[in-house]
Structure formats: C-alpha cells, structure tokens
Symmetry: C2
Subunit: 102 residues, 2 copies
Amino acid sequence: MSHPVNGLDDVVHQRTRLGILAILNETTKADFSYLKNALELTDGNLSRHLTVLEDANLIEVQKGYEGKRPRTWVKITKLGKKALAYEVEALKTLVHRVERSR
Amino acid sequence: MSHPVNGLDDVVHQRTRLGILAILNETTKADFSYLKNALELTDGNLSRHLTVLEDANLIEVQKGYEGKRPRTWVKITKLGKKALAYEVEALKTLVHRVERSR
C-alpha cells in the first residue's frame, strides 16, 4: 500500500490553505478580514492563497460593497468540500500510522 | 483559541517531509533508496527535503559504503520525534474540528 502522504494534494495540504478550507467548511461564507485574522495572515499572503484555491475551483470569491465599504466574501465549493474531506481521511490514516509506531 | 493550523510548522507539515519523518519514526534508520521508493520521489526532490530536515536538526544523514556501494542512511533525531508528535496532535485537533462541522 502506498504511504498515506502520497495521496495528499499540496493545493489542499498546505497549512494556510488547509486552514482556509477548514474555516469555510464551517460556514456559508466568510469575509476576507475574518480569514485574515483567524489565520494570522497579511493581506498579500491571504490573497495569494485564495487565488490558488480559486484557480483549483475549491472556493469562490465574490467582491462587493457593504454600504461604501468594499468587502470580499469567500465560499467553499462542492469540490472544495470533497477535497477537504479527502485530505482529512488521508490525515487520519497518517495519524493512525504514526501513533501505532510510537 | 487560535485556529489549529496556526500551530503547524511548514518544515514538518509539508507533505513529503511529513512522510519522511513518519517513516523514520517507525524504524532505527532508513536508506535513501527506501525513502525514495516509499514516497515516490526523484533523487533531487528527496535530497532537497532531507537538507531542509537536516538543517532543522530533525534528522541525521550518514553517508557511507556497503562494500563498494555508496549508501546514505537517514535517522530521525529526538527533536524530530518531538516535532512529529507535535504535528500529529495539531492534525488531530484539526481533523476533529472539521469532522464536527460536517
């Protein structure tokens, strides 16, 4: 059997992107500032990771206004939920394997 | 409470390096070819990740000969075991959180 890490997708597994998907999985949508604060990121860093996830069709980004204030909303897609669920299964297999070898 | 991904260390969390540490945690030492095959890597790719782990004092690399054949052995350090255990605890927290939100 192949090692559990071989099934991990770097797009999803990368620390910050995994955090973005995990947060979005808990909610209908989150705004840019919320994600930025929750994951302790700079604007540039968050933007960069959102682009990677959007290009992979794992999230949707909607830019709009709330009154005069620009606001960016982010939602997880169906594919994003599936990718996160797959990652979590692979992590569980890995955790189980590491704990067995202690 | 900070999001569980904020505690992850990229040196340990990166897919390939996580695999290297998980394998080394199961054994006294592993040779280069074994890791390369188990993790489906090229020589260059494995070397690069071993250097990152060695620079962080998470593994030890020993080059030697077996008969006339050059052989590279890799061992996890005490610090490497600690870092892996820490990563696994963070992953468990994350997995638990994602599963709770399904």
